[in-house]
Symmetry: C2
DNA sequence: GCTGCGATTGACCGAATGGTTAGCGGCGTT
DNA sequence: AACGCCGCTAACCATTCGGTCAATCGCAGC
């Protein structure tokens, strides 16, 4: 229905097909992320993308192929390099920056994080590639933490004497716990600042508490 | 097909209908927990329960009704009272027991925990009642932790000076983090003993490490 | 103007879905 | 022996699913 009329102001000459493919991906992202794989039908995607169902199958051979395309698209913002952000900081500041970064990212990408988590929990077969990539992210983050903690311990900044691996594992668990707490209870229950302060207190024996309130039942 | 011939030796006189209803619930539990709501068809349930599909609709009006029945059945083992288990222990032992209990429970009920988590993350409408009950469990557990920590602080056992709410929240987050770590990486990555030791170290300034190994890359 | 080709569509398909219905066997009651 | 009810089933129903196909549309090159 008049799809050829739509020519939103994009000066760059993209093939018309790229446009429709993108529209389909956008619609599929939205639907898959909010309803999951099995609960989303190709007809719904077609309707939301204002495109015929057959066109989707022209762009993507099967529903699964569309799904993994969506997965990869949603995963893109997850790959950023932290290195440039923490150029000349001491270990302690780097660790805290890392923690804050994790939590802010989760807050800003809550919907896709929720989607990935649910997807990996439920349908392991469909999300094998997803599993690999997430695991890669996870181990990378973990390795950075271990290195930072070990370095901090050597410099004597960190009084805690646990093995860096164990400390990093525990810290990561706490972060993941905050993640799911955030997913369920929303922003009201978790604030990055408080968590960062908590980590500082735990790892470095801090007692400076900038925000001493935060009671809850 | 000859279903009336099956008369497994059960001496107790339960109505035949209760038997079939139970068989259906068992099959549905298995299938729902391993595949989710939308991915499980009533015909599959019927086949696994070795019962006609119509009989399922005779016991349960709709698929959703069967589902919530399964939910409640799966939730039963989650309601236990901790009070009797920790009768005459000091706060520290109680806290550690509580932590150990949490982790052991997750390990022993991993499949249903995974199912609940995925279900709540994905389909909030269908799991409203589930949400309520889990939240109740959560806040109950949290309240116990808060009380124990506060009490330990008053007695001077716990040197950490954070607000009990904050400490309990952080501890709970760590536990939830261990939960999802366990769900993804399996038993090899998380051991309750190590976690309990870690908590002791964190909360009470312990340095006794009974199992000093456990390196990882 | 014709041709060729990438992009797009409506109509269609078999399979599976959640749910219904008419009826059947067995058993306790009268 | 007739009745009625409970437990149960095979067959059926409308709808929706993922996927296919022949037929177009628009446009570049000749």
């Amino acid at each position: 229905m008049g799809a050829s009329q739509i020519k939103v102001g994009s000066n760059e000459p993209r093939t018309q097909s790229q446009d429709s493919r993108d529209e389909i991906l956008k619609a599929a992202m939205h639907l898959f992320a909010n309803r999951g794989f099995h609960e989303t039908s190709m007809s719904e995607v077609a309707r939301e993308a204002r495109v015929s169902k057959a066109l989707i199958f022209w762009h993507f051979k099967t529903k699964e192929e569309l799904f993994v395309a969506v997965l990869n698209r949603l995963l893109e913002p997850y790959f950023i390099d932290f290195a440039e952000e923490a150029a000349a900081m001491d270990e302690r500041a780097q660790i805290q920056k890392l923690v804050e970064f994790y939590l802010l990212f989760v807050r800003d990408n809550a919907s896709s994080v929720r989607f990935f988590l649910a997807q990996m929990l439920q349908d392991q077969r469909l999300s094998e590639s997803l599993n690999d990539q997430v695991l890669k992210l996870y181990t990378g983050y973990r390795a950075m933490l271990i290195e930072l903690i070990a370095s901090a311990q050597q410099k004597g900044i960190c009084p805690r004497r646990s093995a860096p691996e164990a400390a990093a594992g525990f810290l990561l668990s706490a972060l993941n716990g905050l993640l799911i707490e955030y997913l369920f209870l929303g922003a009201k229950a978790v604030d990055p600042e408080g968590a960062v302060a908590m980590v500082g207190e735990w790892l470095f024996g801090d007692t400076s508490q900038s925000s001493p309130s935060q009671g809850g039942a």
